[in-house]
């Protein structure tokens, strides 16, 4: 037990958690934006996957920041595609989302074989790059807490710092700018912004593009820092866990951040625990985020229903 506590409260564990949380948080923020605008994005998984591959392949030929940008664009393009089929052609957004996910699995493997010249499983033969870590070891110079600070704060991916900034930016956008008001209005009661002359479909389309771009950044982190390179289906359900984080976080950016952190902790535990506790099976630890999401969904729905019932409406 003490071993577990020592591990969990160590700086290395903290660093691991930040690493695992980053892609989840990017995707969750993307899911949050589109969900708040009234378009549930079930394709976060596929968008992240495509972004992973794009990042890996582009990074072979270009610097890492171009690769990250390419991943962002790839996600955004998929978002635009979803917007076209859902908003223009009025196809059901769940079906469109699933189509994107199915497309992503197939297309990424296909593109992988093209890029690696035949390797279907991983991109291990490709010299793909990594996103640099931010070295803050100069903090050690501070007397007393210096080394601890370094241990906790140095070495994170630059994208991890970006995602923290993004949480703030999205919060600011949603609650301090008029366009955030428009987006939230469109999602909650579209008749109102429509009556005010706001183009509801344009807002939703933008939200889908942005959600794709954010999922794209999550994919970049996954394939250029957490792992270096692409493996088929490497997202492993993170896109859906991100949706769970949106729900668990009560559809608020800071809530989503805490929820993503929670899920990041579980993922980090599943990396660390098999060494400590071989009696807790790795699969069960891996299962925890999904179970928590289901329970959170039930609890959340129950609360909503109870509130409606109290009002006499359900």
């Amino acid at each position: 037990m003490t071993e577990l506590l020592l591990t969990v409260f160590s700086a290395t564990f903290f660093v691991t958690v930040i690493r695992t949380t980053t892609p989840l948080l990017f995707a969750a923020l993307g899911g949050l934006i589109s969900d708040l605008s009234g378009a549930l994005n079930v394709a976060l998984e596929g968008m992240m996957l495509v972004a992973c591959l794009t990042a890996v392949v582009v990074s072979v030929y270009a610097p890492w920041y171009v690769a990250v940008f390419a991943a962002l664009v790839a996600g955004g393009l998929l978002g635009a595609l979803m917007a076209f089929f859902h908003l223009k052609l009025k196809a059901d957004i769940i079906l469109v989302g699933f189509a994107v996910n199915i497309f992503a699995v197939g297309a990424t493997v296909y593109a992988l074989t093209l890029a690696t010249g035949g390797d279907k499983g991983t991109s291990i033969n490709l010299p793909s790059k990594a996103v640099p870590a931010v070295d803050l070891s100069f903090l050690s110079a501070i007397p007393g807490i210096g080394p601890t600070l370094t241990a906790f704060l140095s070495g994170h991916s630059i994208l991890s710092w970006l995602v923290a900034l993004t949480v703030f930016l999205i919060w600011y956008f949603l609650y301090r700018t008029p366009w955030g008001l428009w987006l939230r209005g469109v999602g909650e009661y579209p008749a109102a912004p429509e009556a005010a002359g706001i183009a509801v479909n344009k807002v939703r389309a933008w939200s889908l593009v942005v959600s794709g771009a954010l999922a794209g950044l999550g994919g970049a982190q996954l394939a250029m820092f957490n792992y270096i390179g692409f493996t088929r289906e490497m997202t492993a359900g993170r896109g859906f866990i991100a949706l769970g984080a949106v729900l668990l976080g009560a559809r608020h950016p800071v809530g989503a951040m805490w929820a993503a952190l929670l899920f990041g902790v579980f993922e980090a535990l599943s990396i660390v625990m098999p060494n400590l506790f071989n009696w807790i099976p790795a699969e069960l630890i891996h299962m925890i985020p999904f179970v928590v999401t289901v329970l959170a969904l039930f609890a959340f729905s129950y609360r909503v229903q109870r509130r409606l019932r109290v009002k006499g409406l359900a």
Binding site: A91, F98, V105, Y110, E283, L284, T293, L297, Y302
Partner: protein, 373 residues
């Protein structure tokens, strides 16, 4: 005196069938063209690749066997999704039901009962029950809590896979060998092959029976009629005194049973005859495509499964024999889903009609109603 008119009936079974078939085939053709374009630009031997895709499955008895075996499995998952779509629910849990069903069947097969003559029926029953329970959970949560069945069923899929993986590793696989699969089931617990040396087994018969059973349930029982009415217009169902929540939950439970049965078809079938990790390979989700193209009609599901299964087999062979991987079929799938999903709605219909209408055929009358999945 009858009130029928003498105008050619645009709603007769034949006319509807022709329209649906035309729509499904157009979507398929467009998707294949897309695939061809992709292959053309990326493969060194595109025509060879397309040849393998389109012709190869028919060349050997073994590959035909694989095709038919796939068709049986695709049919059952297509039926499961058709059921939930007809009730206008979006439960995506067939994959999880397959794994839980397979697990239940495995326990029966590996128990003392597994060596008796009753093994196969007991395995099937256990699998169906397990799947039904697993389908019941998201349904009940939706009915009682209003919980979104899409998210809950998807999460349950992952949970089921993790549970099965764990049990295989920790309990079911033979100790010490480090294999990620159980020992082969006793012969009495494996479906007999219908055509020797192929994978075509009892599963095919099960699939056919399921088609007839689902069709019968939907169109010949009051439960089925209530289910369809709830799917068409929940307010009208309430006005008629139909208990919508019961129907919703029972639809998802029955569909779950189908999923569980599919699990038994996997592990008790000639293809496996044992439980291994990740045996299902994502096949359950392809049921979505089948259900959508078949417009959730049980009798159309095996036909769509036949064509789609063929494509799938062709893609696998293309993947083995040429430089184009089988996964290109994912692109084909996605295009078909997008096209067919768009074709349900007016702007989508207009766009599609402009692209696909053959010269001379009049446009589909605006008032014709279709069943929505």
């Amino acid at each position: 005196m009858s009130a029928t008119t003498s105008v050619p009936n645009p709603h007769s079974r034949w006319a509807v069938f022709r329209r649906e078939a035309f729509r499904g085939i157009s979507a398929l053709v467009i998707a294949l063209i897309v695939a061809f374009v992709v292959v053309l630009f990326t493969s060194k031997a595109p025509f060879e690749a397309m040849y393998q895709l389109l012709v190869a499955p028919l060349q050997k008895q073994r590959t035909i066997g694989l095709w038919i075996d796939d068709v049986a499995k695709l049919t059952v998952t297509g039926l499961a999704f058709s059921l939930v779509f007809q009730a206008r629910q979006f439960s995506m849990g067939v994959q999880g039901q397959v794994y839980m069903g397979a697990l239940a069947a495995t326990y029966v097969a590996m128990s003392p009962l597994g060596t008796t003559w009753a093994a196969i029926p007991l395995c099937m029953v256990a699998a169906t029950l397990a799947g039904a329970v697993y389908g019941f959970i998201p349904g009940y949560a939706k009915a009682k809590l209003g919980a979104n069945e899409i998210v809950s069923s998807l999460m349950l899929n992952y949970i089921a896979i993790d549970i099965v993986n764990y049990l295989i590793r920790a309990q079911l696989s033979p100790p010490g060998k480090g294999l990620l699969m159980t020992d082969p089931f006793p012969k009495t617990a494996v479906f007999p092959a219908l055509v020797a040396n192929t994978r075509i087994d009892l599963g095919l018969i099960i699939a056919i029976v399921c088609v007839l059973a689902v069709w019968f349930a939907l169109y010949r029982t009051s439960w089925g009629l209530k289910l369809r009415l709830v799917g068409h217009n929940p307010k009208f169902a309430e006005y008629s005194g139909i208990r919508s929540t019961f129907i919703m939950v029972s639809a998802m439970t029955v569909a779950g049973g189908l999923g569980g049965l599919l699990g038994s078809m996997f592990v008790n079938g000639q293809a496996f005859g044992k439980l291994t990790i990740l045996f299902e390979g994502g096949l359950a989700f392809e049921g979505i495509l089948i259900a959508i193209v078949a417009r959730s009609r049980p009798l159309a599901v095996p036909v769509v499964a036949l064509f789609y299964g063929y494509l799938r087999q062709g893609a696998t062979l293309m993947g083995i024999r040429t430089d184009v991987p089988a996964e290109v079929i994912g692109v084909v799938q996605a295009v078909i889903i997008l096209l067919v999903a768009s074709s349900f709605t007016v702007p989508g219909k207009k766009l599609l009609a402009r692209i696909t209408r053959p010269a001379g055929e009049p446009p589909v009358p605006h008032k014709v109603q279709e069943t929505q999945p």
